[in-house]
């Protein structure tokens, strides 16, 4: 072994060490983040009871009534509404982009989607305040601030992300499959329903779950049009509060160190676990598919 080679080996070891230390730092910080959440949440649940907190709907933080059931319901409703709206449009955009559009349309569509997916959530919230809230009020459906408005804004916000991912999933169906299907006498509709959608199902599910996780975790766009009512359920067109918006609202009400601050950790952990559950199933989907 000559000197040059020895120094190369040494520098390989040194750099591998540097890389390992950096990733160790990353793991520590992220692990610590989870630990903080879990500790806070466990401390709170031990005091207030798990079931009681999750299923109750009374929220008076300063009076010590800390039940988050209503926020879970509102989160679920707003998200479901958004997904229900975004799903058909997103699939349509994906089908149009990958199977129908010409080169020119495809490029324009791609740019709009890329730009729209990076538009800040406060900008969508701004649009919600400027257009959706007055619109719903104009229809005579209440004050305009409410679950439906939030669902609409959120649907629009996740549409670009979902469309792009679904588009990629459909594009992954190889050209020879299309040709084989058409050569068997499939018309374009049958080709989409019987081949394209089933064959890209794993990718479409991943797209759906990614969008779902994003919708559940969104705070600002929802907060701006939701109205922030916590006392009881006011119906779909009435105001409400989700887990994310309520954490934001009560960070000031329940400062760190105050006795009931732990409920915020609890809510954050519920959110985090929910999202992890979604992306967890997604991981299995992706892995189950394997390499082509």
């Amino acid at each position: 072994m000559n000197i040059q080679e020895a120094s190369r080996r040494r520098s390989e070891r040194v750099w591998m060490g540097v890389v390992a230390v950096a990733s160790g730092l990353v793991f520590t910080v992220l692990g610590f983040l989870v630990a903080v959440l879990v500790m806070g949440a466990i401390g709170f649940a031990a005091q207030h009871g798990l079931v009681h907190t999750l299923l109750g709907a009374r929220w008076q933080p300063l009076a010590g009534r800390l039940q988050i059931g209503l926020f879970i319901v509102d989160s679920a409703l707003v998200t479901a509404l958004a997904m229900l709206l975004a799903l058909p449009f997103g699939i349509a955009v994906a089908i149009f982009g990958s199977l129908v559009a010409g080169a020119w349309e495809r490029t324009v569509l791609r740019w709009i989607l890329t730009l729209a997916s990076a538009v800040p959530s406060v900008a969508y919230g701004w649009w919600g305040l400027a257009v959706v809230v007055p619109g719903i009020r104009g229809l005579g459906l209440g004050a305009g601030y409410g679950l439906v408005s939030a669902g609409l804004v959120l649907a629009l916000m996740i549409l670009p992300t979902f469309s792009v991912l679904a588009w990629e999933a459909i594009l992954a169906v190889p050209e020879d499959w299309h040709q084989t299907s058409l050569a068997l006498g499939a018309n374009d509709d049958q080709n989409i329903i019987r081949l394209v959608l089933p064959a890209s199902m794993a990718g479409l599910q991943t797209a759906f779950l990614t969008a779902l996780a994003r919708a559940v975790g969104e705070t600002m766009a929802v907060q701006m049009v939701l109205g922030g009512a916590v006392s009881h359920f006011y119906g779909l067109f009435g105001p409400g509060a989700t887990l994310t918006t309520q954490i934001l609202t009560d960070m000031a009400v329940l400062p760190v160190g105050s006795p009931n601050h732990g409920v915020l950790d609890f809510m954050a952990l519920v959110l985090f676990l929910g999202v992890t559950l979604m992306t967890g199933t997604m991981g299995r989907q992706v892995r189950g598919r394997g390499r082509p």
């Binding site: 591998m16 540097v18 890389v19 390992a20 950096a22 990733s23 730092l25 990353v26 793991f27 910080v29 992220l30 983040l33 959440l37 449009f89 699939i91 955009v93 089908i95 149009f96 199977l99 569509l109 989607l113 729209a116 990076a118 538009v119 800040p120 959530s121 406060v122 900008a123 919230g125 701004w126 649009w127 305040l129 400027a130 257009v131 629009l156 549409l159 469309s163 374009d188 509709d189 990614t210 975790g217 705070t219 600002m220 701006m224 934001l248 960070m251 000031a252 760190v256 160190g257 915020l264 950790d265 954050a268 959110l271 985090f272 999202v275 979604m278 992306t279 967890g280 997604m282 991981g283």
Partner: protein, 284 residues
């Protein structure tokens, strides 16, 4: 029986058109409102709480500096982690588990990171709501994203190239440094632009870490309100008489930063890719 069988395609075209019109509506409405009242001085004037004529100069500087700093911190950390995940001798299951860990962290709600950053940095270490606090929170939010997109970019480099480099006597890290990273640079650059745009638009995370005010001058421990937070605050709680125009103007500046980051990185990335694949194509 329908003979043509193109009903779905027609339906998809109409739905796509509707969706694009609505998305463009958001962007155009914001631009229209902002441009109607556009004043160049908003770019450098300081904000005013109760009077008209305030600007967003400090917010602009805060946004650019905090996002740039957060990228400078999270890029090396994320890249190093991605390299370690790729090159360390780990059992397959462990590697997949760690990848899954980062994938689930990738979609962690920003408000959750904000809450923990608030508890630890502000609550425990008694840092003020400031540029430094906000930057660290942004870094924590961004690192998992960087890890995931770096892993994907590097995994897209054909194994044959890697083997070719190893067969020439390169070590594992030399291969990463001299072959894998340059070959995946275009994908990394592309993602960097998206990541910059995402951080610049972040607000939920920053309200309780960077704060809702600006200091008299830029400083690590000065309050560090950003454009996105400013837009939210002005639009929902603002007291100045020209708040509607100011919110839209803030939105325009924010959109411009976002668009510049994306378009810029796209152009750069496409150039890199064109250079790599050469005139005849044949790249990855």
């Amino acid at each position: 029986m329908m003979k043509s069988g193109k009903h779905l395609q027609r339906l998809a075209s109409v739905a796509t058109l509707a969706a694009m019109v609505t998305l463009l509506w958001v962007i155009i409405a914001l631009c229209r409102e902002g441009l109607m009242h556009w004043h160049w001085w908003v770019l450098w004037r300081r904000p005013r709480e109760l009077k008209a004529g305030g600007g967003l100069g400090p917010e602009l500087i805060n946004t650019l500096s905090m996002v740039a700093l957060a990228e400078c911190l999270s890029l090396p950390l994320g890249l190093a982690t991605a390299i370690w995940l790729g090159e360390a001798k780990l059992p397959r299951r462990v590697r997949e588990g760690l990848d899954g860990f980062f994938i689930s962290f990738q979609s962690i709600p920003a408000i959750v990171v904000g809450l923990v950053a608030f508890e630890v940095l502000v609550g425990y270490f008694h840092w003020p709501l400031s540029v430094a606090t906000g930057t660290l929170a942004l870094t924590v939010l961004n690192v998992p994203q960087v890890v995931v997109f770096s892993r994907q970019a590097m995994a897209a480099v054909p194994d044959a190239w890697r083997e070719g480099s190893l067969a020439l006597g390169a070590t594992a890290l030399e291969t990463v440094w001299r072959m894998v990273l340059p070959a995946s640079l275009f994908a990394l650059v592309d993602q960097l632009g998206l990541s910059f745009a995402r951080l610049a638009g972040e607000s939920a995370l920053l309200i309780f870490t960077a704060g809702l005010n600006v200091g008299p001058h830029w400083g690590w421990f000065q309050p560090g309100e950003t454009l996105a937070v400013h837009l939210w605050q002005v639009r929902t709680e603002g007291l100045m008489p020209d708040r509607a125009a100011l919110a839209a103007e803030t939105g325009i500046v924010l959109l411009a930063i976002t668009a510049l980051a994306i378009f810029g990185s796209k152009v750069w990335s496409l150039r890199l890719k064109a250079y790599q694949s050469g005139p005849g194509g044949g790249g990855p």
